[in-house]
């Protein structure tokens, strides 16, 4: 904070953040009135808790890695709620640990895409001119190739591993975020409070992050939830094509795709991870839609 020199302006700017806080609360309250979005949110919180505390519920090595061929392909029962897979591992344990893998792929890839795309978009929008042109033309290049094809090429070329998967999926998010942030920045760049901040000598980077970005969070948040959903479903698609994470890591898409051979005789094997993917994507979409409505001033 370089505000000690200018106490008055700092207060003035803090007024903005107070307003932002109340806006946040208002949005949240409005979101809570949307039952579907709340249901989505509750489901997601539940999933995140599962992912975080997976180790307390099931020991990774003994339930997710160690094999028990004698008990393979058992239908769901009191002992194995979700049945066992082709190696006799408990599917429930693998799904629970899988939530950790799937969610982290989704969150990390989108977070990475958001940060990189956000920075690029903010720079492009704030400076305009040649910088803007270069960044946006680069985005055009990435956007010109259908997302899935790009991810396939990247993962196949770099080799299938969790890191490469995240990189490929993150790259495909970058241009979208860059565009959103850019247009958001453009829309507030010439607002009075930004000009005020600049006028009092706040550094450029600080202006962007402290005063511009927080005021265009709405579309970014919405896009983030929807992107996480898309990333999880793309991960499943890449797993289907043999470009997913490695055994014995239990990613949902990998569980689904390894269960696909058994879909007719042991349908639970593909169905349960499939439903998990489906519910997660559904929850993220409901939450995203709810957020969109809650953030849309016209629907107040």
């Amino acid at each position: 904070m370089n505000s000690s020199a200018r106490p008055a302006t700092s207060e003035e700017l803090d007024f903005l953040s107070v307003q932002k806080n109340s806006q946040f609360r208002e949005t949240f309250l409005r979101l809570c009135q949307n039952k579907a979005a709340v249901a989505g949110m509750i489901f997601l919180v539940f999933l995140i808790l599962l992912a975080v505390f997976a180790d307390l519920l099931f020991d990774y090595q003994t339930t997710c890695v160690d094999l028990n061929i004698a008990e393979r392909l058992q239908w769901p029962s009191a002992e194995h709620w979700f049945g066992t897979d082709q190696f006799g591992r408990d599917l429930l344990a693998r799904v629970v640990h899988g939530s950790r893998v799937s969610l982290s792929i989704g969150f990390i890839a989108v977070a990475f895409g958001l940060v990189v795309g956000g920075i690029l978009g903010a720079i492009a929008g704030f400076f305009g001119g040649a910088v803007d042109n270069v960044i946006m033309r680069l985005c055009d290049v990435f956007l010109a190739v259908p997302m899935m094809l790009m991810a396939i090429v990247i993962v196949a070329a770099l080799g299938a591993s969790m890191v490469n998967l995240v990189i490929a999926l993150a790259i495909s998010c970058v241009p979208t975020f860059a565009r959103i942030v850019r247009s958001a920045v453009l829309s507030v760049r010439d607002m009075e409070y930004v000009e005020a901040a600049r006028a009092i000598g706040v550094k450029t980077g600080r202006t962007i992050f402290r005063y511009i970005l927080p005021n265009c969070m709405g579309p970014i948040i919405v896009q983030t939830t929807l992107r996480i959903a898309a990333t999880i479903s793309n991960t499943a698609a890449l797993s289907f094509l043999g470009l997913g994470v490695k055994e014995p890591q239990p990613e949902w898409g990998a569980l689904l795709s390894s269960g696909r051979d058994f879909i007719r005789d042991s349908g639970y094997l593909a169905t349960i991870p499939g439903v998990c993917i489906m519910l997660t994507i559904l929850a993220l979409n409901l939450l995203g839609d709810g957020l969109r409505d809650a953030l849309d001033p016209r629907l107040k």
Binding site: V141, V145, P146, I152, A156, G274, T280, L282
Partner: protein, 308 residues
């Protein structure tokens, strides 16, 4: 108008250049020696080196890239490493199937999504609205492979209505198109709903009601036409995604499209083929976007001024 189209097509050139550059270098990051793969396991290092020289693979990457570009300018996409056939032939054998599948799937998703979207908007905040939106969301969240197998089990094995695989008759396309279209209807339905909701609140709609026009006329003649703009954009985007995202559908239904060719080529390190597929898909994608923009003008006269 013509000038606008020309400008857009010209703009595709640098984008395509960028795409080729990107893919070319990504493909060269991949492990695996092309000449060694072609010659098989008995090849001596000398034979591999000789073939690499013959194929020009021993030159600097940038030189190879420019060479590729020169070929591209002459309309030559090169020769496939895995089949020895010209890339153009290989791709063109499959491209019509991809276009067919994408278009029919687009029709399916529009036919499913528009009624859902309009219904949801007209019956906004009722159970009809909620059910429509959740149904459309189920499409996007359901793993496509799973849906595809269910469709085959029901329509092919139980009911004997459509073939399980292949691309022989109009019947063959039904199941792949449904599963691909179902996947993509969510965003179309949701966009239709929200733009219709907004349109219905406009003053001129109220005016139309005041004039005593029937509800049906108002919805179909006035609201629908004006609410279509965002929907068209989304349909364009979805068609683009379907062009590239139909790999899974193609695999399950043994549909001989470009997506599957590309997957095989990436795995076989067949750089010319991968480049060819990507270039073709990119051009299609760009053209779809161009057509969308032109349709904008057709639907909304206000936009037409933009083309001048």
């Amino acid at each position: 108008m013509a000038r606008y189209i020309a400008k857009r097509i010209l703009y595709m050139i640098p984008v395509l250049l960028g795409v080729t550059l990107l893919v070319f270098f990504i493909m060269h990051l991949a492990p695996g020696n092309v000449a060694g793969m072609i010659l098989g396991e008995n090849a001596t290092p000398e034979q591999i080196a000789a073939l690499e020289h013959e194929m020009g693979l021993d030159r600097p990457l940038l030189v190879q890239y420019f060479d590729y570009l020169v070929g591209l300018l002459h309309g030559d996409l090169g020769t496939s490493y895995t089949t020895g056939d010209s890339v153009t032939n290989e791709i063109m054998a499959r491209f019509p199937y991809t276009v067919q599948l994408t278009l029919v799937a687009a029709v399916v998703s529009i036919l499913l999504a528009l009624p859902l979207g309009i219904l949801a908007a007209v019956k906004q905040n009722t159970w009809v609205d909620n059910v429509s939106m959740v149904v459309s969301l189920i499409g996007v969240s359901m793993p496509i492979f799973w849906l595809a197998v269910m469709l085959i089990l029901l329509f092919s094995l139980k009911l004997n209505l459509f073939p399980v695989y292949g691309a022989d008759s109009w019947k063959s396309i039904v199941l792949p198109a449904i599963s691909l279209g179902f996947m993509n209807m969510a965003s179309i339905a949701r966009t239709t709903r929200s733009s219709m909701v907004e349109t219905i609140r406009q003053d001129y709609i109220r005016t139309a009601y005041a004039k005593g026009l029937s509800r049906k006329t108002i919805i179909m003649r006035h609201a629908f036409r004006n609410g279509m703009l965002p929907t068209i954009t989304v349909i364009g985007l979805e068609i683009g995604q379907m062009l590239g995202g139909s790999v899974l559908t193609e695999t399950v239904f043994a549909w001989p499209g470009v997506g599957r060719l590309m997957i095989q080529s990436v795995e076989g390190r067949d750089t010319p083929m991968v480049m060819g597929c990507i270039i073709l898909m990119t051009i299609c994608f760009s053209f779809v976007n161009l057509i969308v923009d032109l349709l904008y003008g057709a639907v909304d006269p206000r936009v037409r001024t933009m083309y001048r």
